[in-house]
Symmetry: C2
Subunit: 203 residues, 2 copies
């Protein structure tokens, strides 16, 4: 790992030294490094946005209505905290938002000091582990929530129950939007994992 090379891109008097063997071969790597760092930062930012969106859309989902079943009128109220899966989704997206914000701050401060965003192998392994665990958690939360929503939408097929999303369509739409953003967060984290592995495989 040679950390100081980015300087040689901007200062022409240091460029002179790049005529020697090892530095010439390292220069494209430094540029590629910077590109990867910027890409990583952009992904962190997007990930923060999508997880916060998923979180806020889910926590504001709430609706009350009535449903008639076999001639009875049942009161029906929906709130995100009534289903375990939705609570799990809120917890996981909140954790991912905090993780993304932390990594974003670290990346931006490192980029502004023109040092590489991943300083060492151990740090790279740590980020890989974090991203991988959060990617699995987000995938799990999105799937659990969409399993429940799908059940709400189609009615429960093994008994003759009605479709809950007809009287509660605003609630169901909000939940669907939140789940879509959760899956997009998972996709971004998977790309982040890929970038970590690329870093690990290069250095």
């Amino acid at each position: 790992m040679k950390n100081g090379e980015e300087v040689s891109i901007q200062l022409p008097e240091i460029k002179m030294t790049t005529e020697s063997g090892p530095l010439v071969s390292q220069r494209p790597t430094a540029v590629a490094n910077r590109k990867t760092d910027v890409m990583h930062t952009v992904i962190r930012f997007l990930c923060l946005l999508t997880s916060v969106t998923a979180l806020s859309v889910m926590t504001t989902a709430k609706e009350a209505s009535t449903i008639s079943l076999y001639g009875f009128s049942l009161p029906l109220s929906s709130k995100w905290s009534f289903a375990d899966s939705f609570e799990y989704l809120v917890g996981v997206t909140a954790a991912v938002a905090v993780h993304s914000l932390l990594q974003l701050l670290i990346n931006v401060s490192r980029l502004s000091r023109k040092s590489p965003s991943i300083p060492s192998r151990n740090h790279a392994w740590l980020i890989f582990a974090g991203d991988q665990i959060f990617a699995y958690a987000v995938m799990s939360a999105g799937s659990a929530a969409s399993g429940v929503t799908n059940l709400n939408r189609t009615g429960i097929r093994h008994s003759s129950l009605p479709n809950f999303c007809k009287p509660l369509h605003v609630f169901c739409d909000r939940v669907a939007v939140s789940i879509a953003f959760t899956f997009f967060t998972c996709f971004l984290l998977a790309i982040s994992v890929l970038l970590d592995v690329l870093w690990l495989s290069k250095y």
Copy 2:
């Protein structure tokens, strides 16, 4: 990549050549390689076992019962193919079983020919991608199914519906066992991904 080194561990006359510089430093790597290959093969085998178990337990889950709701007796029958999440779980575990079987056969044939189980970088990337995608898919399937089962077990909280798992406890238990094996498959695939990344970071 030097492929022929494993021979030097078993034949003493070739051991003589390991006195030269590069080969001495490569020898522990060859032993470590072999260990990693054997570990990878064991994980593939376990993964095949758990995915086939999850698949067979789920596809044999079926029960019929009745439930009384507001004085009415409702017929209730449960089968894995009635819920989308359970169908998804069956599809994913079947795909993982096929993937594990293929990789196991490739690994075993390569190990028996004493060649390394991962012949090239491109192959390693391919295995990493496959393992990662299947790990996400299995995590998603397990979570979706457990979201639905959890709903079955606790009843649906936003209306006053009964607990479906009381009359259908055999079905619910089978589904729970299948989901447990699905999560264990996910754990094994995650270890497999870690081994792939370790390989990529080393060579």
